[in-house]
Symmetry: C2
Subunit: 317 residues, 2 copies
């Protein structure tokens, strides 16, 4: 069976999610607390988990996110699940890796609306955090570099192995149904795998939204052009992972596609010049739902309390 | 030792937290999901856990809470921890029990801003919830009564036994320091225990805020008078539990006291006509910090995904 599985994997454009290796467990535990700590926001109300909710596929399941003072965000929150496999972070790839990404929302006035200085002041005022940073990093220095490093280390553990599709890739031919397998064949023969491939079924390239037909966007998001300044990069977005896509609705960078059916239809027409029949669409959707893996399982973290000297949240200023 | 502990407990106005008995575990698991599910709010962003955050002592640690559309709430969110021991729910006691309480915020336009009808429609559209309700309640009926019953059952598990003070009550005389014990003696001899007693160290009566000196409130909250309509009940609030009080800052129904030191000072002067010295205050605060118990420990729940027919959140309408 192992040999068969090996052959099957080698021939498929999608590969199973590999186990996490070389992880710093002490950093993971610290990073988990920080990920759930709303004191990293100005209001004391918004944490990383608010928009990348680990109960909900690592997203907020909103078209665009809610930020400080209920500001409407400009873009759909991408899932944090399996995000360590992305070639870059954010839809426009403006952060090279998870560590660089983690610093962004904390100081973004439209998201957590704090500053790195204030966030560090908060953490430094909490003795249990001070001790934990020393345990994890070996000395008492606390800075944004270490905060984001710990959060990123936690995020590296947020992978979702063991989906039915991965079981199939690994040799269990009964793990998916005949319809789901037909959906996968369509997914391959129609060209979806050209971009949605690898262990994350995406995340490995930037592609133009609207190749065959233009994408009629209401969102002002420009994609990679906002980073490079090149007009040619307009509407170039990071291809999202399709892992757990059943849970990460709504879809696209602007969240305009509410259902998988709608997303598959639009992708087929705009990217591939192909109008899927209802039956084909349903088969592809059935396949996509086999990509839901084991969700991260961990004890809800308990956060160390603030002290008399901790800067207070300012939700209404 | 058992005999000694028995004697000690019988003589003390505070009793240890007793284990939970007669709990419906299937309801607890369903209630846990509902407690964490922001789809019970209109925005899809606010869950029970948003303001009664189980990572943070069952509170939001804000002066007053943030509701739908970032509305500023009128009152400090009381902790959900050990709330099953309260004689009634809400600061003004307007709900008789946890089940009645749970329905309030869902439909409160300033909090979760949904309606019971909409919340039930959302749940009914999610097949995994439908199956779980049937498993738990024996038939396929889903209504607000069952939703709040399940949430309340989960909340009954949110007790915090094994605090150092409870260990002391149970006979371990080394569980608290000499200073903490002196603080407890002061807490008793000064009269604090008249209201803060029993297993929850509070929660068992309504008392007037400002007995000896009037409380100068900026908050419009009226307390029990808002429920009874009686002028005599103005500023009568439910005495809060002091369990985990180190974690449930800021203090009072209006959240105006930022630190325990400040809260102890104001309570002494206004309720007891007693100005504690700095040393006395510090001892009482030291005692209060021995009331932090084992926090609820459970796996972060994974929520069943919405379907194509699930009513979508409306955060910006």
């Amino acid at each position: 069976m192992t040999a068969v599985a090996g052959v099957a994997m080698a021939n498929e454009p999608i590969s199973p999610i590999a186990p996490v290796k070389e992880i710093n467990l002490a950093q993971v535990e610290l990073g988990k607390k920080l990920y759930f700590d709303p004191r990293l926001s100005k209001s004391g109300f918004i944490s990383c988990n608010s928009c990348h909710n680990l109960s909900m596929g690592g997203t907020d399941n909103l078209k665009t996110s809610i930020g400080h003072n209920w500001q409407q965000g400009p873009i759909n929150a991408p899932t944090v699940l399996n995000s360590s496999m992305n070639l870059a972070q954010f839809w426009d790839g403006r952060a090279a890796d998870l560590k660089e990404q983690a610093g962004g929302p904390i100081a973004n006035p439209g998201e957590m609306a704090s500053t790195h200085t204030l966030a560090i002041d908060v953490i430094k005022s909490i003795p249990q955090y001070v001790v934990e940073f020393k345990q994890v990093f070996g000395d008492s220095e606390i800075n944004i570099d270490r905060v984001t490093e710990a959060i990123a280390e936690f995020e590296k553990t947020l992978i979702t192995p063991n989906s039915r599709f991965d079981q199939w890739l690994l040799g269990d031919k009964d793990a998916i149904t005949a319809t789901e397998l037909e959906g996968y064949q369509l997914f391959k023969t129609s060209g979806c795998v050209a971009c949605h491939n690898g262990p994350a079924v995406g995340g490995s390239s930037f592609q133009k939204m609207g190749v065959v037909e233009p994408y009629k966007a209401t969102s002002p998001a420009e994609g990679l052009a906002a980073v490079t300044g090149k007009d040619a990069d307009r509407f170039m977005f990071k291809v999202p992972t399709l892992r757990n896509v059943e849970m990460t609705y709504p879809y696209f960078h602007d969240g305009e596609a509410e259902t998988l059916t709608e997303a598959v239809d639009i992708m087929g027409r705009l990217q591939l010049g192909k109008k899927f029949t209802d039956e084909e669409n349903a088969k592809i959707v059935a396949f996509l739902k086999t990509l839901t893996g084991d969700q991260p399982s961990f004890l809800m973290p308990i956060l160390p309390p603030s002290t008399d000297s901790t800067p207070r949240p300012q939700p209404f200023d």
